[in-house]
């Protein structure tokens, strides 16, 4: 998994470095150090250390780790978090929060329907009141333009 992560970082770092060299000038028009100076150093170092890490890690070849028995639940929570952001954009903050809490508690806290239902409604409502009413902060209204 680590090699895959390093390869992904290397891929993005390669693109970053290419842009730094190809599109950003080393010197400005006034002859001073330009916008490409620092990114070129950072990009080159990042690519070099990623390559070195890949090579050194491959030489040590640690035995493969078995994934955690909780990988599935981690993926479910990550997916629900992504769904929360998407739902905020579609149906607005309050409904998205209630749906997220209901789904998350239904998955994680099984066998307590009344407790889950109460938390799924009351907590988002409290957060909505705190952010929208008390703090007057922005709250997504969603594409449906609901009033809350």
């Amino acid at each position: 998994m680590r090699a895959g992560f390093l390869l992904a970082v290397l891929f993005v770092a390669g693109g970053y470095t290419w842009v730094a060299f190809a599109e950003l000038s080393y010197l400005s028009s006034a002859g001073r150090l330009g916008p490409g100076f620092f990114p070129r150093i950072i990009g080159t170092l990042l690519v070099a250390i990623c390559l070195a890490s890949l090579w050194l890690d491959a030489r040590r070849a640690a035995p493969p780790e078995s994934p955690s028995p909780f990988l599935r639940v981690t993926m479910v929570v990550a997916s629900l978090s992504a769904a929360l952001v998407a739902a905020m954009y579609l149906v607005g903050g309050l409904l998205a929060m209630i749906a997220f809490m209901a789904a998350a508690l239904w998955t994680l806290n099984r066998g307590r329907p009344l407790q889950n239902a109460l938390i799924a409604v009351l907590l988002p409502l409290a957060l909505y009141l705190m952010f929208r009413v008390w703090l007057n902060a922005a709250m997504p209204r969603g594409l449906l333009e609901l009033p809350f």
């Binding site: 998994m1 680590r2 992560f5 390093l6 970082v9 770092a13 970053y16 842009v19 950003l24 400005s28 028009s29 001073r32 150090l33 330009g34 916008p35 100076f37 620092f38 990114p39 950072i42 990009g43 170092l45 990042l46 250390i49 070195a52 890490s53 050194l56 955690s68 028995p69 909780f70 990988l71 639940v73 981690t74 929570v77 990550a78 629900l80 978090s81 929360l84 952001v85 905020m88 954009y89 903050g93 929060m97 997220f100 809490m101 998350a104 508690l105 994680l108 806290n109 938390i119 907590l123 988002p124 957060l127 952010f131 008390w134 703090l135 007057n136 902060a137 922005a138 709250m139 997504p140």
Partner: protein
Amino acid sequence: MEVFEHLLLGLSVAITPANLAYLFVGVVIGMIVGIVPGFGPAAGLAILLPITFGMDPAGAVIMLAAIYYGAMYGGTITSILLNTPGESATVASTFDGYPLAQQGRAGPALVMQAVASFVGGTLGVILITALAPLFSHVARSFGPPEFFLLVMMGLLTLIAMIGGNWRYGVISALIGFALGTVGVDLETGQPRFTFGSAELIGGIDFIPIAIGLFGLGELLHAFYQGLHASGTGGIVQYQKERRFWPDLRDFVETRWAVVRGSLLGFCVGVIPGAGATVASLMSYSIEKSVSRTPEKFGKGAMAGLVGPEAANNAASSGAMVPLLTLGIPGSASTAVLLAAFMLWGLTPGPLLMTQKPEFAWGLIASMYLGNIALLALNVFAIPVFVQIIKLPYRILAPAVILVCTIGTYSVNGSIVETWLMFAAGVFGFFMKRLGFSPAALVLALVLGPLAEQSLRQSLTISRGSFMIFLERPLSLWILGVTAAVLLLGVLLRIPARR
């Protein structure tokens, strides 16, 4: 005398009813953040930052700072009662805290850790009061080369001290630097890595990244480790013990451990990048080595608990010195505090104490009051916090994810930034899982623009010569301290490898 005048000015700011209320709310939230395992002060600060937007700057920063040092107190309660550190700086407190609790001395251990934390935290604030003006005065003679070296010192120290693979630490910091270069170049006005996106013109905002890495990322990692399934069944029932209060012998035997821990913690905390975790572990090693009964360490030695406790609280105070006087945070938590300062248009640095004395001294004065409030909370409100420990993680975690998401959106009302928070959360999960350092990434992201600007200015002054970093006495001094700290980091790793 000038210091006392400043302190009185600060007290007049800190003791307004509103600021006292913010301080109290801050220390309570800090305690809660500290006792929730897998959830450190950086996460707490990042997530709660948006909540402070409606407050006045002094009140907001007083509250956020209280969360920061309050977390150091709270983390120990779980270390003693559950053998699970609430956050990394209280790991050393499990070594002797939990054995003490198992021997029926949880009450005395909890009170002694509260007293040690209070002494460490208060001594740290006294030293800030005495030394911050001096640091501020010296820092006024710093030029671009010194600031660049200080940034590098902070990052290198962090990478050297966090343990694990140093290459992954460097990669994490370089990713942070790379993210910091996105947006308009401040010297030439040329956009960099924006790819025509209007959202990226202003750069990548620090808050979604910090909330994602420390909030969502930490939670996902906690789920992966099965924290939601572990429960709190092993919690020590301290209420059933016959004696809650420590006896006089506990105080007498550990008095020098507290003093040593406090002084060591403050000195370590002042060094950018070193932090409270390093301070507490170093204090534990020192106490064990100077003890006449080292064999008791790990089996319930009170000195093994109070020394690290005093050290981590003094270190959290010490870390405020480079933040306030140089504008350089030494840890992820103080990086979030720096971001909070900047949000209210306050620029920490050499001029803060002279240009905004009511703010800087108000914050320092509030730390005295905060430590008193924390001492009282830690002694008299333990049953309340024990109830919070018992809150199931499977309910707590979705609630925190909600606050992370809504909090991120509320900063700028941007759904793009909310997606950025989510992406940072997933990235942060992999970083933690694979041994990379989210703290180094965040610190580099915050310090990246300062590092780039000071490097370019230095090389412009020297006409391209890197010798400028070796020619100035202050630069040489910073290089010397950096070398010494890195050497210490290497020496600390040698026993671990054996």
